[in-house]
Amino acid sequence: MQSRRVEIRFPGTHHGFAQGFARLLGALDAAGLEGASRYNAELVFEEIVDNIVSHGAVDGSELEVRVTLEVRPDSIILTFDDNGVPFDPRGIPDPEPPKSLEQARIGGFGVMLVRRAAHSLDYLRTAGGRNLLTVQVERAGATL
């Protein structure tokens, strides 16, 4: 089985996010992906792109996001390339488990979910000032 590769480009806005996500779902459908590995791929896209759109812009600059989806026989590789502020999710600690409803943090779960969904994360800040994040999601026996 050959690998399939799809590139999805969109502006880093809420509207762009929705357009990009719809294209991702179409590409996952076309590749026949389902179950936990598909869920994990959707979750990684959701959390990473939401983070870029919500926190990536500098002084109102326009964000441009390029996502490459590569479906291999044993894994799904998602590469996120954006011109937002440097953001390396590998260095973000998991939030403490909440002790009570009143004390629970309401944020910080996105990166945690990406780490659980991914088999590996690689990050590079390029010389050209772009974030390049590569996330590998396992296909066989995937769990969250």
Binding site: L43, A104, I106, L144
Partner: protein, 113 residues
């Protein structure tokens, strides 16, 4: 994302969510859901059997609504989550602060308790 309001039985409101609790889904549903539950300090059980996806935005929404209800003497209970959605509850430990029940019977008991 759809919100279906069900009956109130023994003081417990039933709500069904249908669709994806991703960022656009949460944006769509959070305000009407909060507006329906919070002002009446509801004891509410939310049927998640037709929710196919949840991300961190959905977790944040449930914590926010559960806290708002708890402060007013109400309570939020979730039930019938699909396995992959339930795994997200487990990963984020949401299920340690908001009751997540297997079915409607258990959820009604938890909401009244």
């Amino acid at each position: 994302m759809q919100l279906q309001l069900g009956d109130t039985v023994d003081g417990v409101l039933t709500v069904s969510l249908i669709g994806r609790l991703d960022t656009p889904g949460v944006d769509e549903i959070e305000t009407p859901l909060t507006a329906h539950l919070a002002p009446r300090a509801a004891r509410a059980m939310i049927d998640l059997s037709q929710v196919t996806f949840i991300g961190s935005g959905g977790i944040r929404m449930f914590i926010t609504i559960a806290r708002a209800l708890g402060r007013r003497g109400g309570k939020l209970v979730l039930y019938s989550a699909q396995p992959l959605v339930a795994q997200v509850f487990d990963t984020t430990s949401l299920n340690t602060i908001v009751p997540v029940c297997a079915d409607a019977t258990a959820a009604a008991a938890a909401a009244r308790g």
